[in-house]
């Protein structure tokens, strides 16, 4: 079942807990839980801060496609494509002009695929981790997604 809520920064820990609960139910390798929490937290934080500019409705769903884990985030915020965010500044601390772009950089570092598409009502962000589920579910038992 997807998580639908009016997301605010205060609910980030609740959202991370949902990710771990869902990943557990889907049979995801527990060694990946930290990476999944990170990717979803960064994505939701971006939606709240850069998309809505404050709290806003989001829908979060985890599912499987074979042995891949598929995370989908939907919102009704103005278009925000993480791929267009400024690159992370990884120079030495004293040379860093602005510590921005870290969130998207982290998302890309822990997920294998990230896709953004504009929908009729807002944005849909899909993040995929290959081989995250030990055993593929039968086609008719595909969950979520």
């Amino acid at each position: 079942m997807p998580l639908k809520l009016r997301a605010s920064l205060e609910q980030l820990s609740h959202i991370r807990d949902f990710v771990v609960d869902s990943a557990t139910a889907l049979g995801v390798d527990p060694a990946l839980f930290d990476d999944l929490r990170l990717a979803v937290d960064e994505a939701v934080t971006n939606i709240i801060i850069h998309g809505y500019g404050g709290p806003g409705d989001i829908e979060l769903e985890l599912g499987t496609d074979g042995t891949d884990l598929v995370v989908r985030l939907r919102d009704q915020a103005p278009e925000f494509d993480p791929a267009l965010a400024p690159a992370a500044d990884l120079r030495p601390l004293g040379e860093r002009d602005s510590p921005g772009g870290f969130g998207v950089y982290l998302m890309k570092s822990v997920m294998d695929e990230i896709h953004h598409q504009t929908t009729e009502t807002g944005n849909e962000l899909t993040m995929i981790k290959h081989g995250a589920v030990a055993k593929a579910a039968p086609p008719d038992a595909k969950q979520g997604g």
């Binding site: 930290d34 929490r37 030495p92 982290l106």
Partner: protein
């Protein structure tokens, strides 16, 4: 004040004094300001060196790293060394250590295994 992050502060004396901030919980976009405000209070109160104990941090994201970067700027606003001479890290949890490394902070902020070791290196 967020209940997602608790911070206990103590002052450890050696040849130089260091203020130890022991964090417990999550360091994310919701709690970043909690850390920054506590650090600013300590610095305004005379703290010259800060040691952040991250052993009980179960989540560290980019916002938390921006907070830590902001504290290095507060402590060393005009430091030309490109390093963090006055903010040190103690025993980062595996999740925190991974973010430090991924974002390249491990090359510029010293990490120690004990308070004594950190004080000895000042």
């Amino acid at each position: 004040m967020s209940e997602d992050l608790q911070i206990a502060i103590s002052r450890e004396e050696g040849d130089k004094a260091i203020t130890v901030m022991r964090l417990r919980g999550s360091l994310d976009a919701n709690t970043q300001s909690v850390l920054e405000n506590k650090a600013k209070e300590a610095i305004d109160g005379g703290a010259e060196y800060l040691l952040l104990d991250l052993s009980a941090v179960d989540y560290l994201g980019s916002a938390g790293m921006r907070g830590i970067h902001a504290i290095t700027n507060l402590l060393s606003p005009d430091d030309p060394s490109m390093r963090s001479p006055k903010l040190k890290i103690l025993n980062p949890s595996p999740a925190a250590a991974k973010i430090f490394k991924t974002l390249g902070f491990d090359a510029f902020i010293d990490v120690y295994g004990s308070v004594d070791e950190a004080i000895a290196a000042l």
